[in-house]
Amino acid sequence: MSKLELKHINTTVNAGTAEEKRILKDINLTLNDGDFVTLLGTNGAGKSTLLNIINGSLMPTSGQILLDGQDITNYSEVKRTKDIAQVFQDPKMGTAPRMTVAENLLLATKRGQRRGLHLRGLDQHLDFFKQETAQLPNGLSDRLHTFVGNLSGGQRQTLSFLMATIKRPKLLLLDEHTAALDPNTSHELSELTNDVVQKQHLTCIMITHQLKDALKYGNRTIILNSGRIVLDLKNPEKSQLTEDDLLQYFAN
């Protein structure tokens, strides 16, 4: 069954000015339930714009977006968070520094829900948070009451990832979420991502600049070039791809 459908998506920025630029050109894309897509492309190819169109922080100039068959084109960014979760590239973007790890997680368990005047109930959630963080590589489970601003970039990004998945999203968007980390931490988080996406059978789009990661992870690879999809391969063909195959699609 199709999970996400993009129909004839066009995006133009600075329309009507000298700076006018078409970023996305007639994008048509259908993701099936459980698709784990690695999205590649040069800088300026439109990868982040595509993610922003899906999460609702940017409205397409024309086209239609369907999630689970429902037209969400006119849904606000806030409304879409009920079903769509995202991890940003910058570890600082996805977490609140002056709140503790547990407080951040608690905010995430209520993603997309109405937040009213009832007490937050942090204590009732602590066992659950302990159990969830215990499965992560970098010792967050002992630091539930630490202010997030005092964590390392790797810990913050691991926390961001847990926050995005602690309440199962229908669609998970990862915008180069390992790019700002050192090689070891980056590898750990990539492996964790792969495990969680497989285990929870999540539908996921992951932007990456690492050709190796694009080949290693996911069941499907898409390459954007100048606002168009120039390659879209699924398994088993995807698993036959080599880095050299990919590189030729980057040429202008």
């Binding site: 999460n55 996805g94 609140a96 608690l106 937040r115 009832h118 937050r120």
Partner: protein, 299 residues
Amino acid sequence: MSLVTSTIGQGLLWGILALGLYLSFRILNFPDMTVEGTFPFGAALCVSALVHGVNPLLATILAFIGGMLTGAFTGLLYTKGKIPILLAGILTMTGVYSVNLRILGKANVGLLNQATLLNSKFLAKLPPNFPTIVIGLLIAILVVVLLALFLNTDLGQAFIATGDNETMARSLGINTDNMKILGLMISNGLIGLAGGLLAQNGGYADVNMGIGTMVIGLAAIIIGEVVYGKNLSLSARLVAVVVGSILYRLVLLLVLQLGFSTNDFKLISAIILALCLMLPLFQEKFHIKQLLKKGIEKP
């Protein structure tokens, strides 16, 4: 002695203003200049209601509601009108000045033998200045408890998250515009309330009484942080703000006792706040902490 008790009473009432300012300045993390319009607005509403024979409790509540209105106005200019927060606050503050003149009819209106919240019958048996302390303490405790409860609700946490990381808050489905408007409304509501109470305490409302209130509120917040340190729970920080406000008033009293005139008040306020803000810098530069430690170790 009576100077000290009156100062403590005033410190408590100013503490309510500082609590309001804490919500915008520290939690939402932006400077809200509306304060200097909201404070006299609360005072003007309260005093003219009292002069027209309105029940003191109702007049005080009116000051709170009026404050919420100015807060909502700044919030809408900021979030929906996309005006930078500093300018949005200044616009409201400037506009409210005229409204205050309309409400009062002239620049200054005094209370003459009107019943106020602070001279109610059940307080009459207390020694002088104690009615202000009792009422100030009661309201300060009420406000601290209600704020602490609010900040621990789902809504309150969403409000804190908005100030801490707006991008994250939105990505978790928090309507950050609404949170900012709500925060500015509660914040300015408390500031209007403080205006109403201090007008009842001083016996008058003046259109110019807002000048410098921002500095007074910030001084209370900063002094509270300097005295208690920053590793406090949020609820304890609220208490620290009120204590900071009382300490600040006592420092001002001390300065006045040294022979300065009340005309120098605002200059002294600004200097005290500037010094408090620079304190961390001084500590680093002149190793004050180490000096103090050494002083204790080697007498």
